[in-house]
């Protein structure tokens, strides 16, 4: 044993200058990644929660039926049919959009049908023209029966002469196509915020970082190493969620693998931005028990208001500006556009820009409040 130590000392003079920061960073990334994979809370937050929500919504289907019916520009508005439709409480009439906008919405199933009502020439009766979309078959079906009910309503009968119906073919927009990107976004948010905050706080408090500082490792290596591990873990989680969604719930990936790659790039950007929140929290929290409440202040509003479960268009008007200020809103939006509409990253540059802007602000604060000791 003694001889052993001797040999070691002889054949390894302290190699000043031969030190590799990359090696140190990677060693940290590896250690951190192992540690995350073994931490139950990380796995639960990143994978189990989103998957449970996807499962629930995947099976529940729509959840609270509301049918968006576009009113074709130029349609008569002051007629009894419109009134009856609105009174059902199920139908929301969407007005004030151009024909081209409506066509797009209809094709994606963002509006479930279009309605066009005209007084018949030389008659007091109305002609009702309905266009359904194959992108939203279920809701189209509901609308159809609602219309039929109305058509046979005694008070209306004399005034409505005919209903003309047709269906356009669009890409079917399923609940999963809305829910999955939202859950993915939220998973990235919680991994970024909770994970980062907990790790740096506990490394600081248990003096792990102090012991690191007794080695030649640089501070940047510690941050980057942790970052690599966290991003790697988040991306594996994201890939897992996307694949389960695609193969078990029919999540639409317009361009297949390319779409997945684009989503993962967005996920990386998202998790980097969200980690900034984690750095801030680790700096201001005095103890581990303070991490969850502070983290919730950041994650909960985004969970509720960033279009994770409901399209933010469904929120009351006064809430929408708040929703539109949150970073997760833009990540979710970009994810949905990339996944379902098949847009490229350049097409969502606006969303990316807002995320980057958030990133710059968050990290500016993080640099100020982050504590090493």
């Amino acid at each position: 044993m003694q001889k052993d130590i001797h040999e070691k000392n002889l054949n390894s003079p302290s190699k000043v200058g031969g030190y590799s920061n990359t090696k140190a960073t990677l060693a940290l990334a590896k250690a951190s990644f192992r540690s995350i994979m073994r931490s139950p809370s990380a796995v639960v937050f990143t994978l189990a929660f989103p998957l449970i929500f996807i499962l629930v919504f995947g099976f529940l289907g729509g959840g609270g039926t509301r049918i968006d019916v576009g009113v074709t520009p130029g349609s008569d508005i002051n007629n009894p049919v419109m009134g009856m439709l609105e009174k059902t409480g199920m139908i929301r009439l969407v007005k004030d959009k151009s024909k081209a906008e409506f066509d797009k919405l209809l094709e994606k199933g963002n509006v479930d049908a279009m309605i066009d009502i005209h007084r018949k020439i030389n008659s007091a009766a109305y002609s009702v023209n309905v266009v359904y979309t194959s992108a939203s078959r279920d809701k189209g079906g509901i609308l159809k029966s609602v219309l039929n009910n109305i058509f046979y309503d005694k008070t209306l009968k004399p005034t409505v002469a005919e209903i003309k119906e047709s269906t356009i073919t669009g890409r079917e927009y399923k609940t999963i196509d809305f829910i999955l990107p939202g859950q993915l976004g939220f998973s990235l948010l919680s991994t970024g915020v909770f994970g980062t905050a907990f790790v740096f706080l506990s490394l600081r408090q248990t003096l792990v970082i102090k012991r690191f500082f007794a080695t030649p490792v640089r501070r940047s290596s510690i941050v980057i190493g942790e970052g690599i591990a966290r991003i790697g873990f988040a991306l594996i989680g994201a890939l897992f969620i996307i694949l389960i969604g695609h193969f078990f719930f029919g999540f639409t990936l317009v361009h297949g693998a390319l779409t997945v790659v684009n989503m993962l790039i967005l996920a990386t950007l998202g998790v980097i931005v969200f980690m900034g929140f984690g750095f801030i929290i680790s700096g201001i929290a005095k103890s581990e028990s303070m991490v969850p409440p502070i983290s919730n202040i950041i994650t909960l509003p985004q969970f509720l208001l960033s279009g994770t479960f409901f399209s933010i268009e469904a929120f009351p008007g006064w809430l929408q500006p708040i929703s539109r200020a949150l970073p997760l809103t833009y990540l979710n939006d970009a994810m949905r556009k990339v996944a379902f509409e098949g847009l490229g990253l350049w097409d969502v540059k606006f969303q990316i820009m807002i995320l980057l802007l958030w990133g710059i602000c968050i990290y500016a604060v993080a640099v100020k409040v982050f504590k090493w000791e």
């Binding site: 044993m1 001797h6 000043v16 090696k23 940290l28 073994r38 792990v208 007794a214 080695t215 030649p216």
Partner: protein
Amino acid sequence: METKKAIISVKDLVKKYDDFVAVQGLSFEVYEHEIFGLLGPNGAGKTTTLEIIETLRDKTSGEIIVDGFSVDKNPQQIKQIIGVQLQAAGYYPNLNLIELIELFAGLYGANIKPMEMLEKVNLQDKAKAKYKALSGGQKQRFSIATTLINQPKIIFLDEPTTGLDPQARRNLWDLITEIRDAGTTVVITTHYMDEAEQLCDRVAFVERGQIIALDTPDNLIDQLVSSGFERKKEVKKANLEDVFINLTGQEWRE
């Protein structure tokens, strides 16, 4: 000591925490290949002094040279040639001992076989255990293993034997002596005088941030005896610790 070349030299070291002066003008040298002990009551400033030499804390004033490097100008070089065991330190959570050693090897840029490091401190059986699951003595041994990863010229051990049972302590002394014999300089703090007497080549007594005595344990004892000091009671041929060791054996406890 055949060679008396100073590997650490501390001159007029002062450390203030706000108004409180924890270290008040310490000066001492540590020679190459010796075991140097810093002794003194709680709060004397031992840990503070060590951590300043280890480049982990800033000093208020004074000059410190470690193997030719100044703590002000070359902290990075110093870190590469020292091994540090902190009085209180944790290790990365959720990793087993082998993985922790691998991590440190990466941080130091050292090429070592993790298992060999664990064998040095007789922890090979615990290779797959988590740090948290170790006993106090095993934790101390593991900490010492991490100080050896970069084959340092100097290691700093801050109370490595606190909380250990008598034979674990003795076994740790053997380990520390081996490390010294292999050519590494050891700086150690302890509250056990028997330990300092057995282990240290030279000791410094620190009180309220000042050195009040510095010499070999033998010389310090001789000085006291020659000043006319006598123990109150004749000592028996054995003490309770000898009984403990005799009853429980000498091996490492797992």
